[in-house]
């Protein structure tokens, strides 16, 4: 199987890569670009820890061919921080113990980032629905919901201060 040249835009940078057509996006991120934030968990589209944003929408990098993503904007957990400082959701995860072992965290962060980009003020039900594709085997969901609510409050305060 010969390699093909593919241009992938990841966290705002375009990379020209020679990849095999059967390469999954997750493998290209982790192996070719050393972006190891996105994790391989179940590898069968159940757990959500490989979640990345493709054109702003959460998708599973373990169930997506890298070749299919040409021309789309990919955002990984490495691209979430803003101007070198932690995004509100990253900081809140630390403050509230949202991460226990931390393996599921990158996927959750991406799902939350998408939620907050489409809904500034989600209800508890909306938060739960948005995170329903991500699993935490430490079962630390309550702290995560607290962290997300804290991040929403921080975003609101930040917006108020910047006005």
């Amino acid at each position: 199987m010969k390699k093909e040249l593919v241009a992938l835009t990841i966290n705002g940078l375009t990379h020209e890569l020679a990849i095999e057509p059967n390469a999954l996006l997750l493998d290209v991120l982790r192996r070719d670009l050393n972006l190891t934030g996105s994790k391989r968990g179940c590898d069968d589209s159940s757990c959500g820890t490989c979640t990345v944003l493709v054109d702003g929408t959460p998708m599973l990098a373990c169930t997506l061919l890298a070749a299919s993503c040409e021309g789309q904007e990919i955002t990984t957990v490495e691209g979430v921080s803003e101007h070198g400082s932690l995004a509100a959701i990253q900081k809140a995860y630390g403050d509230w113990g949202g991460a226990q072992c931390g393996f599921c965290t990158p996927g959750f962060i991406m799902a939350v980032k998408h939620l907050l980009s489409v809904n500034e003020n989600p209800t508890e039900d909306e938060i739960r629905a948005a995170l329903s594709g991500n699993l935490c085997r430490c079962t630390g969901y309550t702290q995560m919901y607290q962290a997300i609510k804290a991040a929403i409050d921080a975003e609101k305060q930040g917006m108020a201060m910047s006005r």
């Binding site: 059967n22 589209s45 959500g48 959460p58 299919s68």
Partner: protein, 286 residues
Amino acid sequence: MIAAPFEYYAPESVSEALKLLTTHEDSRVLAGGQSLIPMMKLRLSRPSHLIDLGHIAELNYIAETNGSVRIGAMSTHNQIETSETLRQKCPLLAETAGRIGDVQVRNLGTIGGSLSHADPAADYPAALQALRAQVRLVSAKGDRTISIDQFLVDAFTTALEPGEILYEVIVAADTPGLGSAYLKQQQPASGFAVVGVAAQLEAKGGNIAVARVGITGLSSRSYRAKAVESALEGKAATAATLAAAAKLAAQGEEPLSDVYAGADYRAHVVQVATRRALEAALARAK
């Protein structure tokens, strides 16, 4: 897990895709990849040529024309779930799409891919059979439109011929007075239907004028529950009628059995799910 090697193509039009499909033996089309990519990773499927439909804009639309809604094969479950057109004209399909898999899967998975894969526990077939949907199939030789009942042959088997792809799904827009509901008892880990029941009802003058029921997950293919439909039509729109009709939900079917749900359990739970789906549909019918 890594799929077996293949040549990859990303055509930008349906005619180009059909040409590739005819030229290359042992080729498969890739839609959203939420069934095919896992199958390829497990090497249950190992095509030599993979034709990715993801860049074909003409296959992604939801449009209402003359009382029907046409849904392009590459419309995602999320687009179908959130489509204003479908929520107003065909809420049963939007509701069903919202019950598929999880958020990430609904963002990538497509109606055309799901139907072509024909998993016996998939959600769409129940709704589409209740809706008496049609599918349009295209090939280099031309196109044909067949009913969803004809399209779904058996587990993982459809009426698609070699060189043919599913182009669009066509459903009738709801007429006033219809109420519908999709009710699913799901496998908690996979989210697939143990049984899923789609029901559409219309009541007139205290009697049930229209009853349409599709059931998935129970047996090797989704089916129209004709015994339930005929036990409802023309009868008084009462809880007793619905309960009696729901008891016929598994009539003529051979329930599947797996480690999560045995055949006896499935045969029982399909009656409960059918009754609840009918009650919800009737409550929405006005």
